[in-house]
């Protein structure tokens, strides 16, 4: 009787199965990535609440802007998003402030609705500020009150220094990058801790969409630009009244760093929102909007008196 001979050697079946799973996983990720890229730049609820959006050619860039429905007297309020994100996460804040002010929420070139191909160069903080200035020209805005968040504060600081006449007032919420901890691992660690604190209303789903729109290379390039930028060197040159806001649970912008920034600002003031986290504009937009409203009203009044 013949014994069945078993083939010896490495078992390729597991390897093949693993490779097939990896290929299928990658295909699914690419499919999902493309789906994220095609997500409309204005959320359905905000759209129903009256938030409109439009594209404009600003210099070499096609920039997307969200705007509140009613025209209000006084200076417009411009909201500026953080690192790699877009104004999509600031829609509720825009609606909250929209009860009293005309609010505009542009996406910086390369991000969100203003995304462009990876072949285009990554813009530095100064170039982003210049793009914002050009966007203002295009929209016939000579002066505005700016509300920036996280990395957006760095762009706004650059704008306030290069075009002081355009900035009537500044709100810098959770400004980056803490100069005492300007290393990538520490920033990633702090961001991770902050996300845990915001797990109940996580902006992660929106972030994924914005990451897909920006693309991997632009993310890496912009992170490098953010880490190289020294906001503390610009702050002493900002003439506009500036409100620095931080949530008391914000680990990305520690209290010491916020206080240091206010000390550097010629017209700086500090506000701490109890129990607030880093992504205040998304997690607690209504409370945040209410907290900064008196400052915005004061700047509006200053402007009226100035006129």
């Amino acid at each position: 009787m013949k014994r069945a001979t078993r083939r010896r050697g490495p078992n390729h079946r597991a390897l093949l199965l693993g490779m097939a799973a990896a290929v299928a996983g990658s295909a699914l990720l690419v499919k999902q990535w493309r789906k994220w890229q095609q997500t409309p730049p204005v959320g359905i609820h905000s759209h129903q609440a009256g938030l409109a959006g439009y594209y404009q050619q600003v210099g070499p860039w096609r920039i997307f802007t969200r705007a509140t429905p009613e025209t209000r007297p006084g200076l417009p309020v411009v909201l500026l998003h953080g690192l790699v994100l877009s104004g999509r996460a600031m829609e509720d804040l825009a609606l909250a402030l929209g009860w009293e002010y005309r609010v505009l929420v542009p996406d910086l070139p390369g991000f969100g609705g203003s995304a462009f191909p990876a072949s285009q160069p990554v813009l530095s903080v100064e170039q982003q500020a210049e793009a914002l200035w050009m966007w203002m020209q295009q929209n016939q805005l000579s002066r505005a009150i700016f509300v920036g968040t996280s990395f957006g504060c760095q762009v706004l600081a650059a704008l306030a220094v290069s075009h002081p006449e355009a900035v009537a007032g500044l709100v810098l919420q959770g400004p980056t990058v803490d100069r005492h901890n300007r290393t990538l691992p520490r920033q990633i660690w702090r961001d991770w801790r902050n996300r845990r604190r915001e797990a109940h209303r996580s902006p992660a789903a929106l972030s994924r969409i914005d990451y897909a729109k920006a693309g991997v290379w632009r993310i890496i390039g912009t992170v490098r630009a953010m880490m190289r930028d020294r906001i503390e060197q610009r702050l002493p040159h900002i003439k506009a009244p500036t409100l620095v806001v931080r949530g008391s649970y914000d680990v990305v912008t520690p209290a010491r760093w916020a206080a240091e920034m206010v000390a550097l600002l010629p017209r700086g003031e500090l506000m701490t929102l109890p129990q607030g986290t880093h992504t205040l504009h998304y997690v607690y937009p209504w409370s945040y909007g209410r907290a900064i409203r008196p400052f915005i009203a004061r700047v509006q009044k200053e402007q009226e008196n100035h006129e």
């Binding site: 509720d92 909250a96 009860w99 129990q275 937009p285 209504w286 209410r290």
Partner: protein, 462 residues
């Protein structure tokens, strides 16, 4: 239905009424009063057990909600506030209630289709060697827990509560701490700002019921006894009913000896801590909301006004309210009540003073064709508990039929299955029709002004 975070008891009036109202705003019946689906399946089996086993099962069910001292130290106040706010549909409302827990107010909010954010919630803490009748020990044992709760948030008032009369089954294994927000949690703030556009109305539900307490710090109090069947006098100085009650439970003493009281503060469960008022006024002022205060002393006073407002509300829709649903403590279903075009009358507990309130109401009203009575079983023949005969006497006011709904009169006050059964039975009592169009804030305010003075309910604009 999301599971609430640790530290808020689902079996309590506050959390249960939030759920009852949330279900009404979602246009659903409140058919899961225990709020744990598994418990609803176990309760019928529990009701077949002998009396002592039923009591034990009831106490164990409550204990599962209790937290330990280490969990108290990590109490997530914002998480609890978030859970409350997330129960309501995310939309804009004509008004919102904030403040005291009250079943009649829940019916008003349901008719208006608006949310309510409670100021108070119950945090039960596991404590296995409790003696419900030893107030001095209760105060001493509660000290570390009170300190931990005070440290958990600087904006909370802590009311330790020990009621050996009505809560004695639960107090064997747990200590009760009712926590009152003296400042709006960020989550409440966020919810109100997003839900109320300018011009809306913020209604402060202010129950001014007070109770003598022993002050243990500027934000913490020890309350012995509670509103219900026994009087303040009986809790503090004893009396024939107390002697009989203690003897029945085999306690060798003639009265309780609570620590001396040195202050009178808002009652732990129903009272409103006015520290919140200033912030609410400021908020309403900056947001362009109208602020209205609904002020009354006895929690059941509002039931009279609510019943009258409901009658008018139905009448304006061409419906004559000839059916009465009498709620008890947390047994209520605003959505089903509205669908049956029934008038709600909420009673705070199954006691004689509550039965008397119902009798006063029935004496003044044209007779109802049907009266459906819900009765909460708290597991003990407490002082002042109204027996089933008394309730039956009140049910006899009905022209067609007065019935106990979801409660077995033979087993009361140990019919714990009523928690799982009351809503199904209530839904079967009458056809379910579409309720009238939501009650407007103006009609609500007119109703309170019209009927309030008769029942000592004030409506104060700010």
């Amino acid at each position: 239905m999301s599971k609430p975070p640790k530290g808020i008891a689902r079996f309590d009036s506050s959390a249960a009424m939030v759920m009852a109202l949330s279900n009404a705003l979602h246009q659903r019946p409140f058919d899961n009063a225990s709020q744990v689906s598994g418990v609803d399946r176990v309760l019928p089996a529990l009701s077949l057990l002998p009396e002592r086993m039923r009591e034990w099962g009831h106490a164990m069910g409550g204990m599962a909600e209790g937290i330990s001292l280490s969990q108290v130290q990590q109490l997530d106040i914002e998480g609890i506030a978030r859970w409350v706010a997330s129960q309501y549909p995310q939309q804009q409302y004509q008004a919102a209630f904030v403040g005291s827990t009250n079943g009649a107010m829940v019916h008003l909010a349901a008719a208006m289709g608006v949310p309510w954010l409670p100021q108070t919630f119950l945090c039960p803490v596991r404590s296995l060697r409790n003696d419900p009748d030893d107030a001095q020990k209760g105060l001493a044992d509660g000290k570390p827990i009170t300190d931990a709760l005070l440290a958990a948030s600087p904006h909370l008032a802590v009311h330790q509560m020990q009621d050996p009369n009505q809560d004695r089954l639960m107090l064997d294994q747990m200590s009760y701490f009712r926590l009152k927000h003296r400042k709006l949690p960020l989550e409440y703030n966020e919810f109100l700002l997003s839900a109320l556009p300018p011009g809306s109305t913020l209604i402060v539900n202010n129950c001014t019921q007070q109770w003598p307490v022993t002050r243990t710090s500027d934000r913490s109090f020890y309350q012995f006894g509670a509103l219900g069947g026994a009087t303040e006098q009986e809790y503090f100085n004893g009396g024939p009913r107390v002697i009989e009650f203690l003897a029945r439970h085999g306690i060798e003493q003639e009265q309780w000896t609570p620590p001396p009281t040195d202050a009178t503060v808002p009652e732990a469960e129903w009272g409103f801590d006015a520290h919140l008022m200033g912030e609410l006024k400021k908020l309403a002022n900056t947001q362009g909301w109208k602020l209205v205060e609904l002020r009354y002393e006895n929690p059941e006073a509002l039931s009279f006004v609510t019943a009258e407002i409901y009658r008018d509300w139905y009448l304006s829709a061409g419906v004559i309210g000839s059916r009465l649903v009498v709620d008890n403590f947390l047994l209520m279903d605003p959505w089903t009540t509205m669908q049956q075009h029934a008038i709600p009358f909420w009673l705070s507990f199954c006691t004689e003073p509550s039965a008397h309130a119902l009798q006063r109401y029935l004496d003044r009203q044209p007779p109802f064709r049907n009266i459906d009575l819900l009765l909460f079983s708290h597991g003990t023949e407490s002082i002042g508990m109204a027996p089933t005969e008394r309730w039956q006497q009140l049910l006899n006011y009905a022209i067609d039929e007065g019935a106990f709904v979801g409660v077995d009169p033979e087993r009361f006050p140990r019919d714990f299955n009523s928690l799982a059964r009351f809503d199904t039975e209530l839904q079967q009592r009458a056809p379910l029709l579409p309720p009238p169009a939501p009650l407007t804030t103006e009609k609500f305010l007119m109703g309170v002004q019209r009927y309030g003075h008769k029942f000592q309910v004030e409506c104060l604009p700010h």
